[in-house]
């Protein structure tokens, strides 16, 4: 290959364009469109050769660039009414680049904040307290006997009306997906999570089983540990700590 392309993965066509603009130290408001288009197409070519999974958006942008280039090559004389700003075919692209750059910079700032915040450690969930709170917890606290009776009446009426409710379960859920889900949650909540909080009340049985299998796998892989202080007590899941118990 004539030149080596950096294996930097661009997050999209705008990302790649900004990279080219910065690399060439170009004024974003006055992009030399012919040169940039050429470089953009070279990158595209290289990405294809490297067989990178290239999104259609990259091709769309290539078409846009070529169209701008074509417009700029045409003589500027045609209609005199259209004034300066509006007749620069680059304007829309520049606006998008400026807008995109704004959020790219914001992302950088957030990254620093994220990094700083990671220095502060919270106390993990202590199952001992939960156990205690659970013991004295009345799951029927806010329900009166009258409500309770009405709930049944409604169910029975619905059945008599012959109204059938069909439960349509969503496609397959894989153990791998659930593992990723649990790992992601634990990164978010390193202080631990309750097993029951891995589901919503609408979770299907299949989903619960798959989640449980995923949890077993994670335990086997020593990525998490689980505590349960009594039979039927809450299961707390924690990311495995780096220390070895002595």
């Amino acid at each position: 290959m004539a030149y080596t392309i950096s294996l930097e993965i661009f997050e999209g066509p705008l990302d790649l364009l900004l990279h080219l603009i910065q690399k060439n130290k170009i004024d974003i408001y006055n992009i030399p469109i012919a040169a940039i288009t050429e470089q953009y197409l070279e990158h595209l070519q290289a990405m294809q050769e490297l067989d990178l999974d290239m999104a259609s958006e990259f091709l769309l942008m290539a078409a846009t660039l070529l169209s701008i280039k074509a417009k700029m090559l045409l003589p500027q004389t045609t209609i005199q009414e259209e004034q300066e700003d509006n007749d620069d075919p680059r304007k829309e692209l520049v606006d998008r680049l400026i807008e995109y750059q704004k959020y790219k910079k914001a992302a950088e700032k957030l990254k620093i904040k994220q990094h700083n915040q990671a220095m502060f450690y919270s106390r993990p969930l202590d199952p001992m307290y939960l156990e205690d709170a659970l013991k004295r917890f009345n799951p029927l606290e806010n329900i009166s006997l009258e409500d309770f009776k009405n709930i049944l009446s409604v169910v029975l009426t619905e059945t008599e009306d012959g109204e059938t409710v069909k439960l349509i379960t969503k496609g397959t859920i894989t153990v791998k997906e659930k593992i990723e889900y649990i790992e992601a949650l634990l990164i978010q909540k390193p202080q631990g999570i309750l097993f029951q909080n891995l589901f919503t009340k609408n979770s299907s049985t299949l989903s619960i089983i798959v989640t449980f299998l995923a949890l077993l796998e994670l335990i086997y892989l020593k990525k998490v540990f689980v505590t349960q202080t009594s039979n039927f007590g809450p299961l707390c899941i924690y990311p495995i700590t780096t220390q070895s118990e002595d």
């Binding site: 450690y121 205690d132 709170a133 606290e141 309770f148 009776k149 029951q196 979770s203």
Partner: protein, 168 residues
């Protein structure tokens, strides 16, 4: 003061994040002090926490030290932790109502009424000690039958099932 204030602060931060008891040796290994010196600092921390404006205390447990909340504040702690405990979903309540009024009842019979599978809901209700398996039905396959528990009565403040309001 024998040690830098820093060491005491680090010990506090370690005790704060650890839900497992920490031994003096382990703390010493981390901060570079002999276990005996760690013990001196732990005693200082313990004394600090005994002041009446502190809500937590240092306890010695399972060959280690752990910070816990003072016992007299447990009623407040419960109020904070309660929202963590999920309350019953509508599906669970419906199922519980069916079981309460129609017990003994099999899973299939409940599903017949509700029109949906209830495996998950039944497990949930059992975990919350609201229902239990009370035997098997003398019919093909001898399916398990479910009924409500003593806890169920207690939660509603009932002496027995006949106190449930009539549904007619």
């Amino acid at each position: 003061m024998l040690f830098s204030e820093d060491k005491k602060a680090i010990i506090e931060s370690l005790l704060f994040v650890s839900i497992e008891p920490l031994s003096a040796k382990k703390i010493g290994d981390i901060i570079g002090l002999k276990p005996d010196d760690v013990l001196i600092l732990l005693t200082e921390i313990k004394n600090d926490l005994e002041k009446p404006d502190r809500g937590i205390c240092l306890i010695e447990i399972a060959e280690g030290f752990k910070i816990v909340t003072k016992e007299q504040y447990s009623e407040y702690i419960e109020k904070i932790l309660k929202p963590q405990v999920t309350s019953l979903s509508h599906a669970a309540l419906e199922t519980l109502a069916i079981i309460a009024y129609k017990q003994p009842i099999t899973r299939a019979e409940i599903e017949q009424i509700r029109g949906v599978k209830v495996d998950g809901v039944l497990n949930n209700l059992m975990e919350k000690l609201l229902i239990k398996e009370i035997g098997r039905k003398e019919s093909p396959g001898r399916p398990i039958v479910y009924g409500t528990t003593t806890e169920f009565l207690t939660y509603f403040g009932l002496k027995n099932l006949s106190e449930l309001p009539s549904i007619e």
